[in-house]
């Protein structure tokens, strides 16, 4: 009977779809309640799944229908999948909880409920990307994710948001096209779409040496397609405009969840379709590593040039995506552990940064230039503290998750080849210095003595929910930073089971 728990992912996916459909009929407040309870329920349910899978110490294949894997769709329920499902639900819950105020202020009247519908759809797409055992299902839900995140962006409805979401959509669709073509080639040479069969067929192909070039092409198309969609370095240009224009809550969801979902799907692809060894023979990882390293540096350089708070955080986001792909390209075991840890770190930190920044800026009358934010930390103490905590984590100060992440990257680098070691250490050093510069500048600004109080002191709306959400973000960050052992062990264990 305890294996009944394995049905929970299916129930959660269907529940999300039902809630999204029902949400179109509800008023805004009710839709918000539905979304919040949905995310909380997902968190609880997936926690149960996680406990069960951890106890069993193995992965389960869950048939979607009566037909097992070469024929029908399937889910794969494992430790890492459940961990990331939990993390994504948690971050969505906290972002929605803390991000009510900017939504109320900035969304076009009468359309607030659609934001929550889109949030439900993003959640279901992420859950499927995490759990799906089928590449084509992955493609379909990647498209749901793209369209829903585009909806989340354009909900603000002014000209520049619409422009930014058009740009985002075009970039993202380019990525989907490449991904789709890669999947098609893979289907052509193997005859399968489900990951277990694909892995077997790919192993046989590599052993026999047949279709080497098409296989290489399909792996690179899939990797590059997903990288374009998460906004890796040469394709990061949409980020600054998009996050700079959108409602901060949307930016939080997009940067914290959507781009990470694609990165996690790439990790799934590497492990469940090609297998790490074959992927590392293909040479694609070097391209990802180079793009990631360049992304870290260019993102940080972009951030240091910005005078606008949101755009600075956006560039920092581009740099963090670079970190994730750098880890994926670094090495199969430790590098991927670092990349997965960085996904968690960024998912937990960036929403906190966006939400705190939005409160600080709202208190200063909507100012976004740094010089106008002087002293905001005094008027909005909670947001100031949370922002500082998140910024410290991004810099990588001790006792935060960022420190552990940098430590893991360093550890992974020492096991890699010499050029990669040198490059990784160089990138880590440069990015830490640049990060320190721009985040320290911001933190010093908001705690600099104000020359005069802000012109209009806006009443603090909906403060308790924001305080709880921000406190949870900061607490988790620090707690994991101090007690990182269990989590990194878990990631390594999950990877070994993959």
């Amino acid at each position: 009977m305890s294996s009944f728990v394995l049905n929970f992912p299916l129930f959660m996916i269907i529940l999300c779809l039902v809630c999204a459909a029902v949400g179109t009929l509800l008023p805004r407040a009710a839709a918000r309640t539905v979304s919040l309870s949905l995310a909380a329920l997902c968190l609880a349910a997936i926690f149960c799944v996680f406990l069960y899978v951890y106890g069993a110490g193995q992965e389960f294949e869950y048939r979607m229908g009566h037909y097992p894997h070469p024929w029908g769709n399937e889910l794969k329920i494992g430790i890492l999948e459940s961990l990331f499902g939990m993390a994504f639900s948690l971050v969505l819950f906290l972002s929605l909880l803390g991000g009510k105020d900017p939504l109320d202020r900035l969304v076009e009247p009468g359309k607030g409920r659609f934001f929550y519908v889109m949030a439900d759809l993003v959640l279901v797409a992420l859950l499927v990307l995490v759990y799906s055992n089928d590449l084509f299902t992955g493609y379909v839900f990647i498209e749901i994710c793209t369209l829903a995140s585009c909806g989340i962006l354009m909900i603000r409805g002014n000209g520049r948001t619409v422009l930014a979401s058009t740009r985002y959509l075009i970039f993202s669709l380019t990525g989907s096209g490449l991904f789709l073509f890669g999947v098609i080639i893979l289907y052509n040479i193997t005859g399968h779409l489900l990951m277990p069969d694909l892995k077997e067929a790919v192993g046989a192909l590599t052993a026999s040496g047949a279709y080497r070039f098409p296989f290489l092409a399909s792996v690179s198309l899939v990797s590059i397609g997903l990288a374009v969609k998460s906004g890796l370095f040469p394709f990061h240009l949409w980020m600054a405009d998009t996050y700079g224009e959108a409602v901060p809550t949307s930016s939080a969801i997009l940067s914290g969840l959507v781009t990470k979902g694609y990165a996690f799907f790439l990790v799934r692809f590497i492990f469940d379709v090609t297998g790490p060894d074959i992927f590392w023979q293909s040479g694609v990882q070097n391209v990802l590593f180079a793009m990631g390293a360049a992304g870290v540096v260019m993102g940080s350089v972009g951030a240091i040039q910005e005078n606008n708070l949101y755009r600075m955080i956006a560039y920092s986001s581009a740099a963090q995506i670079g970190y994730i792909y750098m880890g994926i390209g670094l090495s199969a075991d430790l590098g991927l552990t670092a990349a997965l840890f960085h996904i968690l770190l960024h998912a937990l930190t960036k929403p906190a940064l966006f939400l705190s920044a939005s409160r600080l800026s709202a208190r200063m009358g909507g100012a976004l230039k740094f010089r106008n934010l002087q002293g905001a930390g005094y008027y909005e103490p909670a947001a100031g503290v949370y922002f500082t905590a998140a910024a410290f984590s991004m810099i990588g100060l001790p006792f935060t998750m960022g420190f552990i992440s940098k430590y893991l990257f360093g550890l992974a680098a020492f096991r890699a080849s010499t050029p990669k070691l040198v490059l990784t250490l160089l990138v880590l050093a440069v990015s830490t210095v640049l990060n320190t510069f721009y985040f320290a500048r911001t933190v010093l600004r908001i705690y600099n003595a104000p020359k005069k109080p802000p012109a209009e002191r806006q009443p603090a709306k909906d403060l308790p929910s924001y305080i709880i959400a921000g406190a949870l973000f900061a607490l988790i960050n620090v707690a994991v930073g101090i007690l990182s052992g269990p989590l990194t062990d878990l990631l390594g264990y999950g990877l070994s089971l993959f």
């Binding site: 793209t146 959509l169 075009i170 380019t174």
Partner: protein, 127 residues
């Protein structure tokens, strides 16, 4: 090599169309053209997928008179996948069209470069 390309000419045509659509999607500044390019790119990918399932001299996968013999019909799976894909691309097209309509209402042009310039000038005026 050209011989092989000629033998699988449908797939070669699909690749050419994919490249044409991709170029238009990235290079053309007009939004409407970008949408057309996107559609051509998607259908080219689907054409490629469908051509995988084609087998010379077999029937469409609709079981005539209940004859269930795998050597009589073409591969049904690519058709099913493409069916899914077509609906995905029409949804994306609708969203992009709605976005371009909104942009036109606001900026009175479909040219993305011009829109960027207008936005930039507006931002500088505000400062």
């Amino acid at each position: 090599m050209l011989r092989i390309l000629w033998d699988s000419r449908i797939q070669s045509a699909a690749v050419i169309l994919f490249a044409v659509g991709f170029t238009t999607l990235l290079l053309n500044r007009n939004l409407m053209k970008k949408i057309v390019g996107l559609n051509i790119m998607d259908t080219a990918a689907y054409l490629f997928l469908t051509s995988i399932g084609y087998i010379e001299g077999r029937l469409p996968p609709i079981l005539a008179d209940g004859v269930a013999d795998a050597s009589a019909y073409v591969n049904p799976l690519p058709a099913g996948l493409v069916l899914t894909g077509i609906v995905v691309s029409v949804s994306v097209t609708a969203v992009l069209l709605a976005l371009s309509l909104r942009l036109y209402k606001r900026y009175h042009t479909l040219d993305l470069d011009t829109i960027y310039r207008i936005v930039h000038e507006e931002a500088e005026e505000r400062e």
